[in-house]
């Protein structure tokens, strides 16, 4: 009789399959991110594909093997968020000829490695002790457990997927609007924002967050119903904002605000000027206070790593020695990348300072995104990247020669923070299905260099092929003019002008990079609102120390993100609490969680399908 094969967990099929699926998702989402301005986290899609490939096609996958597959695929894919937010800005600012591509690649790989190495010691505190929900991580675990969880839970999961997918298709096809203005329906003055997103994903994530949803709702109402009207009444609007056409409304009078797009634009822009910076400060303060409060748990986590695991066995976590060597290697890469990117304009002393400051900030930012993702599924990635670049420019100077090394290091930090959020969500999934953390960590360490390489290469290739940004047509026209002759003729024959893209060239507006470009210009002009950051941090620290470590982080996040999604997220939390009181915690867990997971999965699947469709149509 042939010996029974060992239970499948960390296998070559999971690693190779995960890398291949992650690479495809990475390229597709990079393209979509440059086009639409935001990226899609691919964990749920990777889990579904892992199921299909390992269990459906190869017919030998296990729940824990699919977990490794999904961990690898999402880690290879997810770093694109860090790359497409930062790297394109170098091209938009006209530094194409000054970019050291090797340095850029080294920096992105360093960021990815450091993100993994620095977040592993926090696993025990965030997942075991704080038990943060990680809505997407929980949704993925629900998918993985579905074959053995019984018919009823599977039906609820599929029901959630179908309802959510149908809703998002209706929105994408413009049958339904992206938002509903309840204020207009119920006759509430437009000054009190009641615009809600048609987003079942947000409801599902809020449901899984539970009580946390209430705190988010409080923060959102504080921002939009108290802070903005109060600041408006007090006349704190920057002088040059009210007069621009972009505002679409006369902000000098509260009563002039009309419902509809004008109100949405108003709230978006005003929130940016009043509360966004305070919100980021509050998140940072809350996270730092959380670390202080969690000192005993961190001590236990480090003790566990020193033992190479806990009492349950020697291989539960990657050893502290591996983490120390990996972190040292990552920091060395960051040092080299900084020096190579800056050339003669950056001394070794400055590069060392950048490495130290970058390493510290990367750890703080990683902790912040792990906390925010754990509590809500959202993270202030762009805000943290902006602060990172501002810190680097503070060290290297604000003149043009410093921008390339500053953005290069900023890219490393942005990649690291996106990696931290993804890895913690995957470890949460692993906790729920019972994976050994060490196996997930090894899989992620082995493959963490692949995603940044693919994302950087994709961005550079897209720039070379199509250019991107608000002036995309102008850049392509200039290139055609320089080439002259038949190239220019072909360009013009395809309908291309200085203002209009030729037929067949996809429009890649790179809106996130455009936002970072404006931010860099603000840093250069010295108008960084440091006072708002510090005041927000003080509130965050105080609230977290006095009440709960989560308060500062969650209220800060709701000051930072748009009302329409945060309010819907809060509604999800209220539904969970009401159901829990009405039907009991067990009922809510057994019936509600599969539905909520389905709502998240359905939305993610449809968004990925549309992204693939967009890429296919454009190429």
């Amino acid at each position: 009789m042939a010996p029974k094969p060992a239970y499948r967990e960390l296998t070559p099929a999971a690693l190779i399959g995960g890398v291949l699926v992650g690479a495809l998702l990475n390229m597709g989402i990079c393209f979509a991110g440059l086009q639409i301005g935001f990226t899609i986290v691919g964990s749920t899609v990777a889990a579904v594909l892992g199921f299909g490939i390992l269990r459906g096609i190869l017919r030998k996958g296990s729940i824990l093997e699919v977990n490794i597959f999904q961990t690898v695929a999402s880690s290879v894919n997810t770093v694109n968020a860090g790359v497409i937010f930062t790297v394109p800005v170098l091209f938009l600012l006209g530094f194409e000829d000054d970019i050291n591509y090797t340095a850029l690649l080294l920096a992105a790989v360093a960021g990815s490695a450091l993100g993994v190495m620095l977040i592993i010691p926090l696993r025990k505190q965030i997942i075991d002790f704080e038990r943060l929900r990680f809505p997407e991580g929980t949704a993925v675990a629900t998918i993985l457990r579905s074959p053995g969880a019984g018919v009823e839970k599977s039906r609820l999961l599929i029901g959630g997927i179908v309802v959510s997918a149908f809703t998002i298709v209706m929105v994408k096809q413009k049958v339904w609007g992206e938002t509903v203005d309840l204020g207009e329906i119920f006759g509430v003055p437009a000054t009190f924002n009641l615009i809600l997103a048609v987003s079942l994903l947000s409801i599902g994530a809020g449901f899984l967050a539970g009580r946390g949803g209430l705190v988010v709702l409080y923060g959102t109402l504080l921002n939009y119903w108290v802070l903005i009207p109060a600041a408006l009444l007090l006349g704190w609007l920057p002088g040059d904002l009210g007069s621009t056409d972009e505002m679409l409304v006369d902000v000098s009078s509260l009563t002039s605000l009309a419902h509809g797009d004008a109100a949405a634009t108003f709230f978006s822009k005003f929130s940016h000027f009043t509360s966004r910076h305070v919100g980021i400060g509050m998140i940072l303060g809350g996270a730092i206070a959380g670390i202080l409060l969690a000192a005993p748990a961190l001590k236990a986590a480090l003790a566990s790593l020193k033992q190479g695991g806990s009492a349950s066995g020697p291989s539960e976590e990657v050893s502290l020695t591996v983490l120390k060597i990996g972190s040292a290697f990552g920091l060395l890469l960051l040092l080299l990348a900084t020096k190579m990117a800056g050339g003669d304009s950056v001394s070794w002393g400055e590069a060392t300072l950048v490495m130290i400051a970058g390493g510290i900030w990367l750890w703080v930012a990683g902790l912040v995104v792990a906390q925010t993702t754990g509590r809500t599924d959202w993270s202030p990635l762009s805000g943290l990247a902006l602060i990172a670049i501002a810190i680097m420019m503070g060290i290297l100077g604000t003149d043009s020669s410093s921008i390339v090394p500053a953005v290069t290091v900023g890219a490393a930090i942005c990649v690291a923070t996106s990696m931290c959020a993804d890895m913690m969500a995957d470890l949460k999934t692993g906790y729920l299905v019972g994976s050994k953390p060490a196996k997930q960590q090894i899989a992620q360490i082995m493959t963490c260099w692949i995603g940044p390489a693919i994302a950087v290469a994709t961005v550079v290739l897209l720039w070379k092929a199509y250019a991107f940004g608000p002036e995309q047509a102008g850049v392509l026209f200039e290139r055609a003019q320089l080439a002259g002759g038949s190239t220019l003729e072909a360009y013009q024959n395809a309908g291309g002008t200085i203002d209009q893209l030729p037929e067949g060239v996809p429009k890649l507006g790179a809106p996130q990079a455009g936002a970072l470009e404006s931010a860099i210009k603000i840093v250069q002009s010295g108008d960084v609102p440091l006072g708002k950051y510090l005041a927000g941090a003080l509130i965050g620290i105080l609230a977290s120390l006095l009440i709960s470590p989560g308060i500062g982080v969650m209220v800060g996040l709701s000051l930072y993100l748009p009302f329409e999604y945060m309010a819907v997220f809060g509604i999800g939390g209220i539904i969970a609490l009401l159901l829990s009181r009405w039907k009991g915690a067990h009922w809510t867990e057994n019936k509600g969680v599969p539905v909520a997971a389905g709502l998240i999965v359905g939305d993610a699947l449809v968004n990925i399908i549309y992204a693939i469709k967009d890429v296919a149509q454009s190429l």
């Binding site: 029974k4 239970y7 296990s62 729940i63 824990l64 025990k124 997942i127 075991d128 002790f129 038990r131 993985l144 457990r145 074959p147 053995g148 409080y218 504080l222 108290v226 802070l227 109060a230 600041a231 007090l234 704190w236 009043t274 509360s275 305070v278 400060g281 509050m282 409060l293 000192a295 005993p296 748990a297 236990a300 566990s304 806990s310 009492a311 349950s312 066995g313 539960e316 906790y431 299905v433 019972g434 994976s435 050994k436 108008d527 609102p529 006072g531 708002k532 005041a535 927000g536 003080l538 509130i539 105080l542 006095l546 009440i547 709960s548 209220v555 000051l559 915690a585 067990h586 867990e589």
Partner: protein
């Protein structure tokens, strides 16, 4: 007192946040005053809320939300795992999955879903001592369930002694 404390805290939080939004360059008129008063109200409300929480902790101790209550709940889980371990060899795949799930969704869920309350009432240091073993045991039991659901019953049974040793470690923490 609790409601007054909440009013102080929430009102102070709002006022301080509005004040913080006025920290432009130059600082808006009244922003500093609003921030300072807000922060003071926040501090007063927070301190009062902490006092109220301590008083509430005594009440909660009666509901089992105390160190003794947690130790008792963990001892109950330990007994359930012992019973499962003793019966595991006689259970088929479906029975094993069902028995493991009953403990995961039952006792582990009951204790785990109150983690924030335990953290608040026991304090971080005491909470961490109990929770280290509890969390490892919960994960290993989930691992056992996944293996049983995949039909790997032998491997699933082999994980159960690890679950028992960790939950026993949690119970023996003090």
């Amino acid at each position: 007192m609790k409601y007054l404390a909440q009013l102080f805290f929430i009102g102070g939080f709002c006022l301080a946040t509005v004040g913080a939004a006025g920290f432009s360059d130059p600082i808006e008129p009244n922003a500093m005053l609003m921030f300072g008063v807000g922060l003071a109200l926040c501090l007063a409300g927070g301190i009062l809320l902490r006092r109220a929480a301590h008083a509430e902790a005594h009440q909660k101790a009666a509901d089992g939300l105390s160190e003794e209550g947690l130790a008792g709940a963990i001892a109950g889980i330990e007994q359930e795992v012992r019973t499962l371990l003793a019966e595991a060899d006689t259970l088929d795949q479906h029975g094993l999955c069902k028995s493991i799930d009953a403990i995961l969704q039952g006792s582990f869920f009951d204790v785990g879903s109150r983690n924030e309350d335990y953290m608040r009432v026991l304090g971080n240091a005491t909470y961490t001592r109990y929770w280290d073993g509890f969390a490892v045991a919960e994960r290993l039991l989930a691992r056992s369930w996944s293996m049983a659901a995949d039909g790997a019953c032998e491997e699933a049974r082999a994980e159960l002694p690890g679950v028992l040793s960790n939950i026993a470690r949690a119970g023996a923490s003090p």
